[in-house]
Symmetry: C2
DNA sequence: GTTGAAGCGGATGACTCATCCGCTTGTGGT
DNA sequence: ACCACAAGCGGATGAGTCATCCGCTTCAAC
């Protein structure tokens, strides 16, 4: 189960591959393993050994962002008001989803389809479920909405904002937050209209 | 501008190609022009002549569905209550989007990127904008939502429902309607909660 | 320094893509 | 009925991508 530590040169190569891939993703270029190998001046086989498929590589590229999000989820769990906690976390998630092009595919994939991120994402989903459960307990959210609805809905919001491909990433993030606001209004239950999201941060 | 009518055999081939492609789409197979050609027992070049790219073919496959939707939009314009009209049309759209796998790409593409459907889709968007304008005029909808938000939001809802890939198409359509309901609640403005969608057409 | 395991790389065969061009067929004119 | 020719056909083919295999190199434990 546990992999023995990588040889020094191997670890270096792996790192290099990830860096190059990150540039590809940021530039919106298609991740092609042969191509990445050439750019990194590394043998094709080496790349394939570390990452059998483009998806696996993408996943690894996305990993830091998932970690960051997980920290934010845990931070949100410290917040007192369940609605604020949920809302702020969702906003953070949307922002990251729209800022880092590596993330949406990871989010859209089923937890178990993920080789490298699976565990991490499961933890994220758990924290997420907890936030949702608290909101439910407080009665501030539509009771028909389950935990398994949240990831798809989040991806849907991100997807919607991403369709406006003419916009630059920042504008798209803003749009995404606006769409999230719409969704949140739909989700919210309670006597008062939920406060709109703060201007962004 | 106007193309001279196709030779009889050519028209036949074209039709055959579309039929085969339709099967591909319905089965969720990837549309590969060479592949379609082989299945249809038609030369590759013939396929490429009629449809230079898989997208063009897909678009043509989607055409009847777009037409159907356009009719529904026009039908909705006959409805008295602006909110009901908008809501019912959106529900119909979601249902079609989730039922016919050829449609989402066409909807997600910019109106002008479409070779064969462009005109039709523009008409659809126009009817759509009219429905939205009426809702705005009646003050039953969030004033910040513009016509150009609607297609993305619709695609987002469809996308969200489609992520649950384990579900069969019918269940996914139901889920999509539920998500649409959430969105509609977010969109709606007025003293009373909007009536939920009827149980499905 | 030696040794064997871990890792490397690029040549290569399988496969997909889309074009080109010599041949066939439908059609409009006589 | 026949002809002429434009419209259309098809598949062979070159360009390009993908992923594997295996002989060679390098690391690190002793």
């Amino acid at each position: 189960m546990s992999t023995p530590p990588l040889r020094k040169d191997a670890a270096q190569n792996r790192q290099r591959i990830i860096e190059v891939a990150r540039r590809y993703v940021d530039d919106g270029r298609l991740l092609q393993l042969n191509d990445v190998a050439r750019t990194a001046s590394i043998g094709v086989a080496t790349v394939y050994r570390h990452f059998p498929t483009p998806e696996a590589l993408l996943e690894t590229v996305a990993l830091p962002a998932v970690e960051k999000l997980l920290r934010q989820a845990e931070h949100a769990l410290a917040e007192d008001d369940p609605w604020t906690a949920l809302r702020d976390f969702l906003a953070a998630a949307i922002e990251v989803l729209l800022t880092d092009p590596a993330l949406p595919p990871v989010f859209a994939a089923g937890t178990d389809a993920l080789e490298h991120t699976g565990d991490l994402k499961r933890r994220l989903v758990t924290a997420f479920a907890e936030l949702l459960a608290r909101a439910h307990a407080a009665g501030v959210i539509d009771s028909g909405v389950t935990e398994s609805d949240m990831t798809p809905l989040l991806c849907g919001v991100a997807y919607a904002a991403n369709i406006q491909s003419a916009l630059d990433p920042t504008e798209r993030a803003t749009l995404g937050l606006r769409y999230l606001d719409l969704l949140l209004t739909g989700l919210h239950r309670g006597s008062v209209k939920p406060a709109a999201l703060p201007p962004s941060r």
